[in-house]
């Protein structure tokens, strides 16, 4: 019973964050399913995907009703993204994964810094509006 409540709370928290931030939620689901609920890494990844698909459908439909989705951008990113994913999956076993993770970490860090700078500008702009 306690476990079910925990799983529900995990879903509620991650689902809200995923829909408002635009991510799948795997970054939250996978580590928690492994560490708190004892799933093996591979099972946690599969289970995480099974949660993400319906959650993203509900999020996307609700966003679409609010008129927030840029459909042209969605078409391009979705189509090219699936091709890119297929290519990545084909190469997955023939490349040095540690090196790739490090490259990915660097790319993410650069993007995070740029998003952080943009966030600071947005905060300053909102303060300027507040104080008139």
């Amino acid at each position: 019973m306690l476990e079910i409540v925990g799983l529900l709370m995990l879903g509620l928290f991650a689902g809200t964050l995923a829909a408002t931030l635009g991510v799948g939620g795997g970054i939250i689901f996978v580590p928690i399913l492994v560490s708190a609920f004892g799933l093996a890494q591979l099972d946690a990844q599969g289970t995480s995907l099974a949660i993400i698909v319906p959650t993203a459908i509900v999020g996307a439909v609700t966003h679409a009703r609010a008129g927030r989705i840029n459909w042209k951008v969605f078409g391009v990113v979705g189509a090219v993204g699936i091709l890119g994913a297929a290519g990545g999956a084909l190469l997955a076993h023939s490349t040095d994964e540690d090196l790739l993770r490090q490259i990915f970490a660097v790319v993410l860090s650069i993007l995070a810094v740029r998003m952080g700078l943009r966030t600071r500008r947005l905060w300053q702009a909102s303060r300027a509006v507040d104080t008139g």
Partner: protein
Amino acid sequence: MGFSWVKAGLVGLVAGFLSGLLGIGGGVIVVPGLVLLVGLDQYSAAATSVATIVLTASAALLAFGIGGSVDWPIAAAVLAGAVTGAWAGARYMHKVPEHVLAGVFTLVMAVAAIRMYF
């Protein structure tokens, strides 16, 4: 709004490639890509990213499902909460100021980047 097919395609290519290669979701790349490169605001970038995740996560699930490694009872319990949260989040997102949204997203990105180093 000015919109570059090439830039959007580049975002899709990099995000898709990395998610296929490393098994991570594309959202953490798609959202900053759409904001910084394509020029969408935080709301539109998040919404558009969620829609692309429907496609990419479905494809990944089909590929993954063959291995039979989905714990359905656990998935069902988490889903009940996640679907409710996704609806509420998407329904009331506009009430959250953009600078707060961007701040939380930056924090999540930083955590993702740190996790990737280890």
